[in-house]
Structures are given as C-alpha cells and as structure tokens.
C-alpha cells in the first residue's frame, strides 16, 4: 500500500521530511507519534498525494507519487486539523457536496452522518455554527462516504467527547478490518493502544523508531508481556484479535532509547506488504 | 537636438548601470558558490547563455 524510500519533502525551503523509509501493508493500523514538528502531518499529506516528494521514491496504493498523484487522492480519506468544510453550507450540504465531488452517491450521506453520531437536528445548521467536536464528526462523515482505501487521520480524537472518541476507534478498526490501511498521527497513546497498532516514531523528519523493524528480541522486550512469536505478526498488520496488549505497558518514550535504531541512516529491514 | 542627446544619454547610461549592477551582483553571488559549480569558469567557453 505504502512504500517510501528516502523520501524528502519540503515545506518552502524547510525539509519537513528528511529521508523517510516506511512500508505499510493492507489492513494495517499505523500510529505515527513523535514531537511537534517531527513531520507527522507532512507524512500524511505526502501519502495523500497532496505533497510531491522532492527526493527518494514513494508509491502509495500502487501509484508513483512523483507522477500521477491525482490518482491517489480520490482513493484516500483524510481528516486533518482543518475541517475541510465550507462554513456557509449546512452539515448535510457539505457532506452531500463532498460525496458527489468524489463520485459517490448522495444516498449514503444520511447513513454516514448517523454513523458519526451527527444528530438530525444539526443537518440543516451551517457548519460555521457547529462546535469543534460536531465539526470533526461532520468531517469524518464526509470521509466515510468516500469509502477510502487509505485513511489518513491527523489527531482524529482532538476536540471529541468520549462517545465521539469511541466512534473514531470503531471507524479505524472497521476500516482496517475491511482491508483498508489506516495511518493515525496522534499523541493519545492510551486511546490508540487498545487498537493494537504498529507504532512508528518520527523525529526530525525521519523514522526514528519502527516497531516492525526491531530485532525479535528487542521487540519481545519492548513489545509486550508476550514472547509470543505471534506478537511479531500482529505488528506486521495481520490483525490478531487475541492480542490486545500491543505496545505493552512500558512508557512509550522508552522506545526511543532503544539501542541500534537511533541512526536514521542505518540499513533498514525490509518487510513485504 | 538636445532631446536627441538626452535620449542617448539616458538610454546608454541606464543600460550601463544595469550591466554594472549585474556584474556586481554576479561577483557577490559567485563568492558564495564553489567554483566547480560555476560551469562557465571551468574549461568550456560555450556556456549556458540563454540564447
């Protein structure tokens, strides 16, 4: 689904991504974490075909990003910090517009709004008058109607109440269960951990740490209580409902101090996806 | 006739000033770039000229 090799992406003259290597397969849930400015949002935008790589090779959904990026765009669903909604249009008009714009029928719109728990009385309210949480739910509904093959979620839980957060989690699990790939950038590890994601840490525009690339022993120690070989598989994306521990109980920052993964130039273990 | 002289003086001095400004700018900039990346300063006289 996603194959990045030495990808460099510039924001103006600033190299937001300074050589990212990442491979993600279908059905995987990847949690991107890292400090502010580590390049998480840029990586999501790049995978969505919104940003051209300035160096390296990148292919997403089988499309080379240096070429026809537009073929990727219509197949991804992206929720970012901005809502992507027109403030002067109502909730229903917005979702209907985006559904039609990406070629989906407008008949799925009520179902999508229901699924994201947007109350019926809100359908005819202009988006500008919604609260941040309601707006986020509407944005997610606009993505749901697209049935994307790749989900790119940037802080999807921000501004949502407990019910909304649970809805997002269900959305992520269902999407991955249906074979779609999900990339989530989030600081809320506690929230994501039950979904058993593959944790990728970005820092300084490169992949600082990737659970899937650790040695089995290190992964065993870092990973969870289990020395279970299935744990490695779960990190590779084959969803194993039996394993719920995911990253395990240790402080996630410890992962960054793992030996041998510090140098971003170090040879990367290949994974097939 | 004074108009003719004025026209020539304005025209030539403006071109000259622009040319000197370009040369000065080129000198300042070329100090910042390694000589081996200035293709015209190596071994070939036929350089990219824009023509």
């Amino acid at each position: 689904m996603i194959h990045l090799r030495g990808v460099i992406a510039l924001l103006g003259r600033f190299p937001a991504l300074a050589g990212v290597d990442l491979d993600v397969g279908p059905g995987e849930i990847v949690l991107l974490q890292g400090p502010n400015g580590a390049g998480k949002t840029t990586l999501l935008r790049l995978c969505g075909g919104l940003l051209a790589p300035s160096g390296g090779t990148a292919s997403v959904l089988g499309v080379d990003l240096t070429g026809k990026r537009r073929q990727v765009r219509s197949r991804v669903g992206m929720v970012g910090h901005a809502s992507g909604l027109y403030g002067d249009l109502t909730v229903a008009e917005n979702v209907r517009f985006w559904a039609r714009a990406c070629g989906a029928g407008a008949q799925d719109v009520p179902a999508a709004l229901d699924r994201m728990g947007v109350a019926h009385r809100l359908h005819d309210v202009p988006v500008a008058r919604l609260s941040a949480g309601q707006r986020r739910r509407t944005s997610l509904a606009a993505v749901v109607v697209r049935r994307p093959e790749l989900w790119l979620l940037d802080e999807p839980h921000a501004g949502l109440d407990q019910v909304g957060r649970d809805l997002v989690d269900t959305l992520i699990t269902d999407a991955a269960g249906a074979g779609a790939t999900v990339l989530v950038a989030s600081h809320e590890l506690d929230r994501i951990r039950p979904l058993n994601p593959r944790v990728v840490t970005l820092a300084g525009g490169v992949v600082h740490d990737d659970v899937a690339k650790r040695d089995p022993e290190v992964r065993g120690v870092q990973g969870s209580r289990a020395e279970d070989p299935a744990q490695a598989e779960s990190a590779h994306g084959v969803r194993d409902p039996g394993v719920t521990g995911g990253m395990g109980a240790e402080d996630p920052t410890q992962a960054e101090s793992a030996p041998g993964v510090r140098d971003p130039e170090a040879p990367k273990g290949k994974r097939d996806a | 006739m004074s108009y003719v002289i004025a026209g020539w003086v304005i025209g030539l001095s403006a071109l000259g000033a622009y040319a000197f400004a370009l040369l000065a700018r080129g000198r300042r900039l070329s100090r910042l770039v390694a000589p081996d990346r200035q293709r015209w300063s190596t071994t070939r006289a036929d350089t990219p000229t824009g023509r």
């Binding site: 919104l50 765009r73 992507g84 027109y86 714009a101 | -």
Partner: protein, 222 residues
C-alpha cells in the same frame, strides 16, 4: 466533467447566496465607483454620458476583482483547498466551475451597474442586442482570466496586491473592446461594435481553453 463543473459552480453560488458578500459588499462597491466617477468628472452630465461605456467597464473590472478574490478566499478557508484536491475532480472541471460561478456573479453586477448608469449618467441604449451580447462575452473573458489568476494568487501571502497587478494588464483588451462595443450600443461614438465583439469573443475563447489546461499545473503547487 460538466457535471463536476456544475457541482462546483452551484456550491459557489449557494455560498455566495448564503453569505451575501456579493450583494452586501461587492455590488455597493461597484455602485460607489460610479458615484466617485461623477465627483471626479465634476458633475459634468455631458461628459458622464459620453464616457459611460468606459466608466461602466472600469467599474466592472474593479468590482469584479473583489468577486474573484472572494471566490478564492472561500476555497482557502479551513482546509477545503486540500479537500477539493482530494476529491479527485479534474482540474479543468474545477476551472470551468469556478469560472462559471464568477461569470454569473459578474452578470449580476453588470445588470446592477447598467441600471445605475442608465439612471445616474442618463445613458440610453440604442442597440439592446449588442449591449447584452457584449456584457455576456466580456464577462466570460474576465471570469476565465480572473479564475486562472485567482487560483494562482490564492496561496500567496501578498494575494490582495498581486492579483490586480497581474490581472488588470491582461484584461486591457477586454476593457478596450467592451468599451468600444458599448460606444456603439449606447450610441456615444460611431464604431462597429460587432467587430469589437469578435475581439472579446476571441479573448474569452483563448482564456477558457488555456485556463482549462493551466489550472491543473497551478493547483499542483504544494
């Protein structure tokens, strides 16, 4: 492709209708320009009548500039620019949709301004068909060129200043041609207005075709 274009145009018009920026700000501004011309020409009724065609089109261009900026400011708000790119709509459809919405707004502006000059400047229409056709074709040209330059400047920090600087010289043939055609339609000078309409038509066709191709290049900016 035309379906997508209409989708975009309908969305734009709906937003304009909701927000009332065009009716509350752009149209009064256009009217204000006409009033200011009267002050500038020292309340000289004869001069105002004679220069009605030129004044009319200058007012259209300046207020049209506001409409173009407004049309692209709604696309730069709250991430909808990215969302529109992600929708996978063909750039040519986006261009035609945005241009169509701007075109219809310009037409509405022209109607208001036409009524205003007929009343305020005491202008009289001699050739109604030429008047209407010129308004249509000139608006199409301005909308096409304006859409192209609107998307070009939308993400620049200096968009308010760079758009008129780039666009107004390009629109010079439209100003000349539409003014001359109006000279004929309003009977203020003996010229062949229909020949000038040809220039306006050529301008519109060139920029609609060029814009449809160039819009995609400009969208791929990030």
């Amino acid at each position: 492709m035309l379906r997508d274009a209409w989708l975009i145009a309908a969305k734009d018009l709906r937003i304009e209708w909701r927000s009332r920026v065009a009716t509350n700000q752009v149209a009064p501004f256009a009217f204000l320009i006409l009033v200011l011309f009267a002050f500038a020409l020292d309340a000289n009724s004869a001069a105002l009548r004679e220069f009605t065609p030129g004044l009319f089109w200058v007012a259209v261009l300046f207020s049209g500039m506001l409409a173009i900026q407004r049309s692209f400011s709604i696309e730069s708000s709250d991430g909808v620019g990215d969302a529109l790119l992600l929708s996978g709509i063909e750039p040519a459809s986006m261009f035609l949709g945005k241009a169509l919405a701007i075109f219809l707004q310009l037409l509405a502006l022209e109607v208001i301004l036409a009524v205003a000059v007929l009343v305020l400047y005491d202008a009289g229409i001699e050739d109604g068909v030429l008047f209407a056709t010129t308004s249509l074709v000139a608006a199409a040209g301005v909308a096409a060129a304006g859409t192209l330059y609107g998307v070009l400047s939308v993400n620049l920090r200096v968009k308010e200043t760079i758009l008129p600087l780039l666009l107004l010289p390009v629109l010079a043939p439209v100003l000349i041609g539409a003014t001359r055609a109006f000279n004929d339609a309003l009977g203020t000078a003996a010229v062949d207005g229909w020949a000038w309409l040809g220039v306006l038509g050529l301008f519109a066709v060139i920029y609609i075709v060029f814009g449809s191709f160039a819009y995609g290049v400009l969208l791929e900016d990030s």
